[in-house]
């Protein structure tokens, strides 16, 4: 058999294996995207199979849509704060749990009771977002029956007749939601970073210890550089979560698919859903979907590029 024929046979063999998954992927992943893209140029209502082609009208309207622009701004705000706060907290806890303690024999270990903390920190991750929204709904409840309000009233910090309407305050609502996301995420990233930290050879720490490095120095000079890959991945994941936020916003805040009060907690996905299912503007909603897809992709590329640095091997 000639070289060429052999090559063809090999590629044919591989292609045979690739064809089925590729076809499935194209049908169920790529094709819906293409469809969404197509629908975004129509005035489809979502309730009927007939629609007209309207060109780029939807995109032009999107540029003028203040609600959507506000939502985009909120997403960007979350995009900065969700990864930043979550990763910083997770890194801090992970470091304390794994390398923050000072054992009597000079070994590297976590603070006392670190095994216990590791398990406890992971708890929030076990809860689904639906349960979480009920749980925090009770915490943020706007009358004195709410955990926060009850607590603050008992302390005499707020008047029982004027409780804080946490999720109904335009300036508080987004931060209240941010807290839930961070609370939920820290445990998982703590475990992720812990795993990464445990794979760092102990002798590096011991060497640092012998050289007289303190906790902060050990962290910034040894741990963080060696964890950079994990941090980078986490940032992308958290960034994507910050671009979504649908479940929490739609269940916890007021309005059809959430976003209240008066659009102050609106994110792109809630605006999209409201237009898609409630206002019967599905073509318009598809245009939003396309914008979200584009933004998410740009975001991932930027994050991976911007955080690229030399890989440290050990």
């Amino acid at each position: 058999m000639s070289h060429v024929a052999q090559g063809r046979g090999k590629y044919g063999f591989i292609a045979g294996f690739l064809f089925a998954p590729l076809a499935l992927y194209l049908t169920f992943v790529i094709w819906p995207y293409v469809q969404t893209f197509g629908y975004s140029f129509t005035n489809w209502t979502g309730q009927s199979p007939t629609f007209d082609f309207v060109g780029t009208d939807n995109y032009a309207a999107l540029l003028k849509d203040e609600v959507f622009r506000g939502a985009l701004w909120h997403n960007l705000l979350l995009l900065v704060f969700v990864p930043l706060v979550t990763i910083l907290l997770a890194l801090f806890f992970a470091f304390m749990v794994n390398a923050g303690g000072r054992g009597g024999a000079g070994g590297v270990q976590g603070v006392g009771g670190s095994r216990f903390y590791k398990v406890v920190y992971f708890f929030p991750q076990v809860l689904s977002l639906a349960i979480l929204s009920v749980l925090f709904g009770a915490i943020y409840r706007s009358d004195e029956g709410g955990l926060l309000n009850g607590f603050l009233t008992k302390l005499g910090l707020i008047d029982a007749n004027h409780p804080v309407e946490w999720l109904n305050e335009p300036n508080l609502v987004l931060w209240c939601l941010l807290l839930v996301v961070v609370w939920h995420g820290v445990g998982f990233y703590l475990v992720l970073f812990s795993a990464a930290m445990q794979s760092i050879p102990k002798d590096i720490y011991e060497a640092a210890l012998l050289d007289g490095a303190g906790r902060a120095q050990t962290f910034f000079k040894v741990t963080l550089p060696l964890l950079w890959d994990s941090v980078q991945t986490s940032a992308v994941y958290l960034g994507i979560a910050a671009m979504d936020m649908f479940v929490l916003v739609s269940t916890m805040t007021s309005g059809q698919f959430g976003g209240g009060p008066d659009h102050h907690s609106e994110v792109m996905s809630t605006v999209l859903m409201r237009n898609f299912l409630y206002f019967g503007k599905s073509g318009y909603a598809c245009a939003m979907g396309v914008v979200m897809l584009a933004l998410t992709m740009i975001l991932s590329v930027i994050t991976l590029r911007a955080t690229r640095r030399e890989r440290i091997e050990f």
Binding site: D143, A160, E165, W166, S254, G255, Q256, F257, L277
Partner: protein, 477 residues
């Protein structure tokens, strides 16, 4: 229950289901449906042999057939349907099968597609199959025959003459009567008869009296008005009803018909919004009520933490478990502003809970007879007792029957209202406008905007809706 669940959104799962259904499945289903349609003719013989049509049996129900009933098991439960089926089986010797479920679409879509749908369906709840979709697919049987059949209570009358206003119009799809909306709801304030008796408060007739009771409540250490703040739909009931009663039906039509002076320049609208705002300004709201869900605020009200709450007549059944035995729930028509055009007794009333018969039902005759029976006073009373709600049958509850206090007071209010009922269409016609007005109301209740700003925002929402292509078709006179 569809009316009570107005504020609850659809999950993303539904979006996926729907977009999958629309985007991927429509094409294959269409051919599948047409295949069924063409094969349907042979299937129609599988039903029971038809009995001769008589005056007592206008649809020719054959004795001893089968009847397949599916009902939405929501706020009204499904005990009423079981009682109906037992009564039906007894009379016609049929064997009924019963399914009470919340997953209407999941359970029924495959059956519609396969051409073997049930005979009677209560197509309600968050997962209802959209009625316009069914109607366009020719899946709904024409129910005009039921309207024209003699009423069971008085054979000299046609069924259509025993229905409340609006039941016919709101059952039309493309000009054909295919949906029987069975539940009749009245809207207004609710209070505890026990609390009012204890405190010696009289149910207010005017807005000033209403404010006075709220003030007394505040002095007694409880909230005046509670509302379902997370869903501003409910406080809009108060605002809109005040507008209607002060400005008369013309004010209602001006809003529904999207007129340029529906809110701006309307004295009735400004007076109504200012009246509601007065409650806020004077601190007569139950503390924290602006952020509560419907169940949270209603439960607080059931715990005597507020004097009044606005809602529709599904409230009693919705709160059944949270209501103390001696609470003595009472309905209160919206109190009057000065110089109101409508009388105190006037109330907002609407129909809901759609019952349908599929075009391809195996036992259509029995299904139509079932619907005719539903519109009898006997079955209507069963519903009022089991589901604690009114039906579209005029005067449809046996006066000798003991109802729960809330339902009883709603029946009395309805009787007192007589022809003085009104309803708004804009929430069904223009959901975007409705949402924007709700947002404005939420801001008003939180004291972040003033009545004048509310009027401005509401009018802007109206003007925006006027650009909707449907605005031409949605006119009322």
């Amino acid at each position: 229950m569809s009316m009570g669940s107005i504020g609850e959104g659809l999950g993303r799962r539904d979006l996926i289901k729907r977009s999958a259904a629309l985007g991927l499945i429509t094409v294959p289903t269409m051919s599948f449906l047409s295949a069924c349609a063409s094969g349907g003719a042979e299937n129609s013989t599988k039903g029971p042999a038809k009995a001769p049509v008589t005056k007592e049996n206008p649809f020719g129900v054959a004795k001893g057939g089968k009847l397949d009933v599916v009902v939405f098991k929501g706020g009204f439960g499904d005990d009423y349907a079981k009682a109906w089926e037992a009564a039906f089986d007894k009379k016609w010797g049929t064997t009924s099968s019963h399914l009470g479920t919340q997953e209407i679409t999941a359970k029924l879509q495959p059956r519609f597609n396969a051409g073997n749908p049930p005979d009677v369906i209560d197509d309600s709840g968050a997962q209802q199959i959209k009625l316009d979709v069914l109607a366009k697919g020719d899946q709904l049987a024409d129910l005009t025959a039921v309207l024209d059949a003699p009423s069971l209570d008085d054979p000299s009358k046609k069924v259509r003459d025993t229905l409340v206003d609006g039941a016919y119009e709101q059952g039309l799809q493309g000009g054909k009567f295919v949906v029987l909306k069975y539940v009749y709801a009245v809207f207004g304030f609710w209070y505890s008869g026990k609390l009012f008796k204890e405190k010696g408060w009289a149910p207010p007739k005017t807005w000033d009296e209403f404010l006075a009771v709220c003030t007394k409540a505040k002095e007694a250490g409880i909230g005046g008005l509670a509302h379902q703040g997370k869903f501003p739909y409910y406080i809009n009931v108060v605002i809109m009803d005040l507008i209607a009663k002060k400005g008369g039906l013309d004010a209602v039509k001006a809003i529904d018909n999207l007129e340029p002076n529906a809110f701006e320049g309307s004295a009735a609208a400004l007076a109504a919004v200012e009246a509601v705002y007065e409650v806020v300004e004077k601190g007569l709201l139950m503390p924290g009520t602006n952020g509560l869900t419907h169940t949270e605020s209603q439960t607080a009200w059931n715990q005597y933490k507020a004097a009044f709450i606005p809602s529709g007549s599904w409230l009693e059944n919705e709160q059944l478990k949270q209501t103390p035995e001696d609470f003595d729930m009472k309905f209160l028509p919206m109190p009057l502003l000065a110089d109101s055009k409508m009388p105190l007794e006037a109330i907002r009333a609407g129909v809901d809970e759609p019952f349908i018969v599929p075009e391809k039902a195996a036992n259509k005759a029995a299904a139509l007879e079932f619907l005719r029976s539903m519109l009898s006073r006997e079955w209507s009373t069963i519903f009022a007792q089991q589901a604690n709600s009114l039906t579209v049958v005029k005067d449809g509850v046996d006066p000798g029957v003991k109802l729960r206090p809330g339902t009883q007071s709603a029946v009395e209010a309805l009787k007192a209202a007589g022809g003085n009922t009104f309803s708004y269409r804009y929430p069904d016609w223009y959901s975007e406008m409705d949402t924007e007005i709700q947002n404005a109301s939420n801001e008003l209740m939180a004291q972040r905007i003033q009545p004048k700003e509310w009027i401005k925002r509401a009018q802007a929402a109206v003007n925006k809706a006027a650009q909707d292509p449907n605005a031409k078709n949605n006119k009322r006179s």
